[in-house]
Symmetry: C2
Subunit: 385 residues, 2 copies
Amino acid sequence: MSHYFDANATTPLCPEARAAWLEATDQHWHNPSSPSRASARVHVLLENARAELAALFGATAESVVFNSGATEGNRDVLAYWRRISPESRVIVSAIEHPSVLENARANCVGGQLVILPVEKSGCVSMKSLVELLEKRGGGLVSLMAANNETGVIQPWQEAIEVCRQYRATLHIDATQWVGKEALEGLASADFVTACGHKFGGPKGTGFLLVSSGLSGFCGQRGGAQENDHRAGTENYPSIASMVAALQASEAQRVGVQADNGDARDRFEALLSKAISDLKIWGAGEARLSNTSSLCLPVGENTRWVRRLDQRGFLVSTGSACATGKDGPSHVLAAMGVTAEEARRTIRISALPSTNWEAWNSLAAALVELLPGMDGGDGNPLVIKL
Amino acid sequence: MSHYFDANATTPLCPEARAAWLEATDQHWHNPSSPSRASARVHVLLENARAELAALFGATAESVVFNSGATEGNRDVLAYWRRISPESRVIVSAIEHPSVLENARANCVGGQLVILPVEKSGCVSMKSLVELLEKRGGGLVSLMAANNETGVIQPWQEAIEVCRQYRATLHIDATQWVGKEALEGLASADFVTACGHKFGGPKGTGFLLVSSGLSGFCGQRGGAQENDHRAGTENYPSIASMVAALQASEAQRVGVQADNGDARDRFEALLSKAISDLKIWGAGEARLSNTSSLCLPVGENTRWVRRLDQRGFLVSTGSACATGKDGPSHVLAAMGVTAEEARRTIRISALPSTNWEAWNSLAAALVELLPGMDGGDGNPLVIKL
């Protein structure tokens, strides 16, 4: 029996999404752009899926652009912005996903790119954003809704107001938010990125919400699909599956959020008592209820991950997209965490189905493993429980 | 009972691909970039799939970049080329898919883009290509392996030789080729585009072959996935499914090709006898064995499609990606077909499983419908059968 605590990296396909994928694959596999009646039916189903997804956000169906995932979405927003506004400034937070940061760097020259600092808490500095926009309005601001490593919720609602006030365009990367937190209000941003496999949908499918005020958005050329916003044969089976996943997720979200949050908080309280010098990044801030970023007093995180894995607990060192890259987490570094602390940090991220027993047994495993993790690095090691 | 003759638009998922998708989705859904053993197993499976796909082409595993499909692949090749060689010339044939043509236009300024003409036969003019390259070598040449509307096979083997001789980089869009014709030799091109759902694989998945000589290719930034060639969580279920589809397709290809070709040729011979003034675009050239582009003596193609659909035959007016666009097919126009003839042209494209009975009953339906299709446009209408 293994316990999965790497849900921010990916989730298994939920039953509703599996059923929807199979139904679409078996019965509605025709090309929605072909001229037959069977294709027309798929086209209608595709547009229904678009309307249903839009309804969850209180957005218009026209604003939904289905794509292959958040990495594509983030790239396309940055590229589109540079194309329509070649001279303007781009402000991105220091804790954005690499697909935002690297595309922002690639699309900006000289001083066009401003990296917004975060507080020690892991929350982006709204003060800095306001100061920047007060000096010069306009441009693009790209801010994630919640951080993938720490779970810290970012002040995107405030950012919507501030960007409106200073006539800046706002992109919210809501990859970790959607499926975990309330969707209300997100669609007020100019762009919203999301990704199916983070909330029980299939891999290779995501979507962008694109505000109607932004004309000419085009991620892929070469066909009129997605209202001219993204060419290529529509992947209706995966789209139907993703929408089913989000509907299923929304139907149970409030309860899951409370249960997950309670369990995570008990887990952290238990561990804090048991392990002195335990640090929990972002603990003082509102966080995603499934996420806990733990800095253990001893032991490299890669070793922690291996040992926990052997006991049936799947946790992570941080972002899967950053695995294999040199150096410690850019997210933790931006929060002022030392490289040495970052190397002792593991990311716990639960599924909606994760219950207290799983959290509790993970806490027990951490406590049990701790004595064997002292690699002789001189850190004090005190177990109180 | 309906007969599907729109396989060049999309194909249903084949049983092997369906089984592979389900197995991967149920058992190997973990993020291949996460640090757990379960993830490491998915990573190994992913690399096995890459090696198996590469083996079908006689290519190296390193040359395979999995992506979301041919539209993405074509865009990324054109964008990459412009980035590494901003001043160079781009030569594309007049009958390329819109995802090549539109990206070529978007990435070229002034006289950088040269459109290569095609012969009346539907075959690209190698004479023109040689003349162009004789005057000035280098640059990028983009040529499809076989045309999606006419099925006419393009001289890509010759193009490989010519481009090598004149030090031009060659991109082959093999979207319609892969799964229908022998893969041998394709990997000698610098780039090859392919797409899973054209050969019984899932939608939303494709691949590029990228020659090892082309360093720094990157379709999406923000992660080290796909050997730094494309960031984003790998869609292993769809990749496994696509590779299973191509393996299944290759295992039966030679027989299917012969049977399909025989049936298509008999179908065309039968119709040519039965319907005077029937034209078959590209009839004199080597064509994909599943494709027939028919210019009927009377009737708008949209009307033909509807009438045939009512009788259970799903055919197309042309490329699904061009549906809804104004004007007649750019492929037929490049071949010197008049707009009026193009409007009387339907595309027939069979599945590997399509048998002679289906072709024969389609021929009978065409002949039976013909008298009712005379819209009073003054065309002579003679039915001999």
